[in-house]
């Protein structure tokens, strides 16, 4: 046994990390048992359901899946989901960066409170978010009615409502990814730029922003991914009008209820693919050790 292990470990050294040998304090059984548990758990609760839904969506082949997704109502729901999420991401990126900047760089009364409020959307049930927005902007409510009357602009039961709901829900994502990076940023680079004659906008654009781009992008992608699957708030706010204000997630519910399982699975697989692709991208963007 001993004679066998030696060449093996030497091989491991050669192929992986030269000169760096891992010291183990556990028995080999313990190590494998630990890995086995984690893997079994992942398989049971993540991989199997994923596999099942993908298999279900592909029941009639790729063509069948494509057919289900490109049905007018489905396609429209998908497009609505994507463009509202995109608009939300754009706004969120700008405002989120601004908020993080204000929170890190400025002192003002109520800063602590604001800082803790940022995370509130994570804690509030998204259904409640929807109800809040309807209460504020609903066609029967003062503000909603006034907007409708003055500008013929409706928010609730229309795409703007969806964007508002998504904005509310994804508020923390960009702020919380940018904030720590901004906090650890060395100010002396900015001071140096100032002594060299750069104005504050130039300093922000050329000195402060570059190191923020990476966290900014991953924050934006995270909020986009989160928005695609949003159901609770949207189902209340959007009004579920096919071809107008029905999003992909709500569409899936409709298909399940009308017992079109293939339609539901196909759309689900599509959404999984988008989310998975985004997560892979975020993963790639993370700075490596």
């Amino acid at each position: 046994m001993e004679s066998l292990r030696k060449p093996l470990s030497r091989l491991a050294q050669l192929s992986l990390r030269p000169g760096k040998q891992q010291v183990s304090y556990q028995s080999p059984w313990g190590r494998w048992a630990l890995r086995g548990t984690a893997l079994a758990y992942l398989t049971a609760f993540l991989l199997i359901p994923l596999f099942v839904i993908i298999q279900d969506g592909l029941r009639e082949g790729l063509a069948g899946l494509w057919h289900q997704v490109t049905l007018p109502i489905a396609w429209n729901a998908l497009m609505l989901t994507l463009w509202t999420a995109a608009v939300m991401t754009l706004i969120n990126t700008i405002i989120g960066t601004l908020t993080a900047f204000v929170l890190v760089r400025y002192e003002f009364p109520g800063k602590m409170l604001l800082n803790s409020l940022i995370d509130l959307p994570l804690a509030i049930p998204t259904l409640v978010t929807g109800v809040m927005l309807v209460t504020l902007y609903g066609p029967q409510e003062a503000l909603g009615a006034w907007l409708k009357e003055q500008f013929d602009f409706s928010i609730i039961f229309a795409p703007p409502g969806i964007i508002l709901a998504l904005l509310f829900i994804t508020l923390p994502f960009v702020v919380r990814t940018v904030q720590p990076v901004l906090m650890n940023l060395d100010r002396s680079q900015e001071y140096a730029a100032a002594t060299l004659g750069a104005g504050s906008w130039t300093i922000f654009r050329r000195i402060t922003l570059p190191p923020l781009l990476l966290p900014l992008t991953s924050g934006a992608l995270l909020s986009f991914a989160r928005a695609i699957g949003e159901f609770g708030a949207v189902v209340i706010v959007a009004g579920n009008i096919p071809l107008y204000s029905q999003t992909a997630a709500v569409y899936v519910l409709g298909e399940v209820e009308s017992e079109n399982r293939l339609g539901a699975s196909a759309m689900s697989v599509f959404m999984i693919a988008i989310s998975f692709g985004l997560m892979m991208l975020v993963e790639r963007l993370q700075p490596r050790q």
């Binding site: 002396s188 001071y191 002594t195 004659g197 750069a198």
Partner: protein
């Protein structure tokens, strides 16, 4: 003048970081600000660069008032301690940054950046990213970047601090030659003495926010004005001797007066400095070709490379007190540090325990002898206040501090003294603690006999401590600071002078202390209505004006106030009006044992202003009876 700073002052959270600093740096001059960390030198650079707003004072760069201009418009090149290179740009982009802001054409930028990279010895590395360079290389990029747009002045904040010794010396040589070549006025901040000596045309020594002295390296080393600078630069032997008409007297040894010393100090005591290399050692007295100090025993011999270091112990010399190197409390002997060349050492080899005659080739007399404070404590709450305030004032005034513990010598007092040492420790020129198991008066008396002090600081309660105060004043010439409760360092002092008394001495010590605290002073005199006839107003005004003049010589801004009425009441009223936080009153200087009574004006005033620090200044010109009128 390239850089002119006028009365620059900066506070952070009420804490004085830069304290009334005035400085002129000439065209092309290499000026070094030298001081320990936290002395405010970096803040001065930030003020000049405009990175931090100025509280008071003015900054002129090439006769242009930039005090309120943003950093972008000041045209300063700044090199940061941590280099602060733009990580997202290449080396050339870093160097070209200042030029691209100024819309210089790409070709010209390239030319200039190549030129500067060559100047700092980094040609060909323009396309690297900052993190691909070593620390020394990064620092040179930072220098090239600061110089690229041809700034009016160059500011360097400990630029070599993070580098290892060898690279540091090499870069230092580089830096000096580049600065010479470009002829740009430079302020260089460092805590490294060797660096300062090596680079500077002139050095400014900073401590606790104040610029203590400015001069050429040679001047500051050989002819320092203050005790702090004397001991901060190199090794210093310092003694207190006497000023006599024949010259400086240190024991049996006389030095002729060579500068206008009489004007410098009315004190008969003077502080004498000599450097280790000024000391001569010989086997017998006949060989000594310079004034001799005495016969000493060798305590330590250490090998120092190019030279040998010795510490010698001289027996006590009457009338001479040693300041540095410090001797343990209670010992009268005098320690002397000296260095010898290997040649000298081989001619007259010395081992610990050997005896040698000690002579001194040259001495220097400090213009401002250092102060020494005695802080009295018995562990009570009000002596804690005295420790607090005394420690802070001593730090600002660069005074040596002796903490005197008295009362019952138990565990509580011991741990209190230990705590006090810890609390006072940082930033004091010297600190020692002594204890006497006796009442405060006897303890002070014993301590004073060992060594006189300029100022005694004690906690004070006007109902209980008046007799103690009187007795402490009775044996010695020390001034007294009474601290009734914890308070911050005074910012506004009311100096009460007794009208008609000619003494400027009342004002002088107070003025010195107030200057160290950078507080404002107001001179007050009060007379009973009955005494205001016959030109009293004119005389008093003239008198106060002369006081203001002597204060302004010390650099203390002063106002004057004249009042009529009952003296303690008027003092009290003025204290309330002006929101002063220190009161200064005079007390006579008497022969020991003659007895001092504070029962008059001082005592009454103390009981009426019970919660503000009061400085009792001793003066020959105050007659015993005068305060009681």
């Amino acid at each position: 003048m390239s850089i002119v700073l006028e009365h620059l002052t900066k506070r952070y959270d009420g804490h004085l970081v830069v304290n009334n600093v005035s400085l002129e740096v000439g065209d092309g001059e290499f000026f070094v600000l030298l001081g320990s960390s936290g002395s405010g030198k970096t803040t001065i650079l930030s003020l000049v660069a405009g990175l931090v707003p100025v509280d008071q004072g003015r900054i002129l760069l090439h006769n242009r008032d930039v005090t309120y201009l943003p950093p972008q418009e000041r045209k300063v090149g700044f090199v940061f301690q941590n280099y602060a290179l733009f990580q997202s740009m290449t080396v050339s982009e870093n160097v070209e940054f200042g030029l691209s802001i100024r819309k210089v054409s790409a070709a010209e930028r390239r030319r200039r950046s190549d030129e500067l990279l060559e100047l700092v010895g980094l040609s060909g590395l323009g396309n690297r990213k900052p993190w691909q360079l070593s620390g020394g290389q990064q620092q040179r990029v930072a220098l090239a970047r600061a110089l690229a747009y041809q700034p009016d002045v160059l500011l360097l904040d400990e630029p070599l601090g993070a580098l290892d010794a060898k690279i540091r010396t090499e870069l230092r040589r580089n830096l000096k030659s580049i600065q010479r070549k470009l002829g740009v006025a430079t302020i260089f901040v460092t805590h490294d003495q060797e660096e300062a000596f090596d680079l500077a045309d002139r050095i400014g020594i900073m401590s606790f926010g104040r610029l203590l002295e400015v001069g050429t390296p040679d001047d500051l080393y050989r002819r320092p004005q203050t005790e702090f600078v004397a001991s901060f630069l190199g090794t210093a032997n310092q003694l207190v001797g006497n000023l006599t008409p024949e010259g400086i007297e240190v024991g049996a040894w006389h030095f002729p007066i060579f500068n206008n010393l009489q004007q410098m100090s009315q004190d008969r005591r003077v502080q004498v400095l000599f450097r280790p290399e000024d000391v001569a050692l010989t086997p017998d007295v006949a060989n000594l070709d310079c004034p001799r100090l005495g016969k000493a025993v060798v305590e330590e011999v250490a090998f120092g490379g190019a030279y040998e270091r010795l510490r010698l112990r001289l027996p006590a010399i009457s009338g001479v007190r040693s300041i540095s190197p410090p001797v343990p409390f209670g010992s009268d002997s005098i320690l002397v540090d000296t260095t010898r060349s290997p040649e000298q050492a081989s001619r007259f080899p010395l081992q610990p325990g050997d005896q040698a005659w000690v002579g001194v080739h040259r001495i220097h007399v400090l213009a401002h002898p250092g102060l020494s404070f005695l802080i009295l404590t018995d562990g009570s709450f009000r002596s804690q206040a005295a420790l607090d305030l005394g420690g802070q004032i001593a730090r600002l005034a660069h005074a040596r501090v002796t903490v005197l513990g008295c009362g019952k010598l138990d565990k509580a007092l011991q741990s209190h003294l230990q705590e006090a040492r810890k609390q006072l420790g940082s930033g004091l020129v010297s600190l020692e603690a002594i204890t006497f198991e006796s009442d405060p008066v006897q303890a002070v008396q014993q301590a004073i006999e060992q060594r006189p002090h300029d100022l005694i600081i004690m906690g004070f309660n006007h109902q209980e401590d008046l007799p103690t105060t009187e007795q402490i004043l009775d044996f010695g010439e020390h001034h007294l600071l009474l601290v009734p409760r914890p308070q911050p360092v005074p910012g506004k002092a009311l100096i009460c002078v007794s009208g008609g008394e000619p003494g400027k001495d009342d004002v002088l010590f107070a003025g010195r202390l107030v200057r160290h605290l950078s507080a404002d002073a107001t001179l007050l005199t009060v007379a009973a209505p009955a005494r205001t006839e016959g030109g009293w107003w004119d005389r008093s005004e003239r008198y106060l004006e002369s006081g203001v003049r002597s204060l302004s010589l010390l650099g203390v801004p002063a106002k004057t106030v004249l009042r009529t009425g009952t003296v303690p009441e008027e003092i009290c009223a003025e204290m309330r009006n002006g929101s002063y936080d220190m009161l200064v009153m005079g007390a006579p200087l008497t022969r020991p044992g003659e007895g001092i009574s504070l029962a008059g004006v001082v005592g009454q005033t103390l009981s009426m202003v019970p919660d503000i620090a009061t400085l009792i200044v001793r003066s020959h010109f105050i007659a015993q009876g005068s305060w009681n009128r």
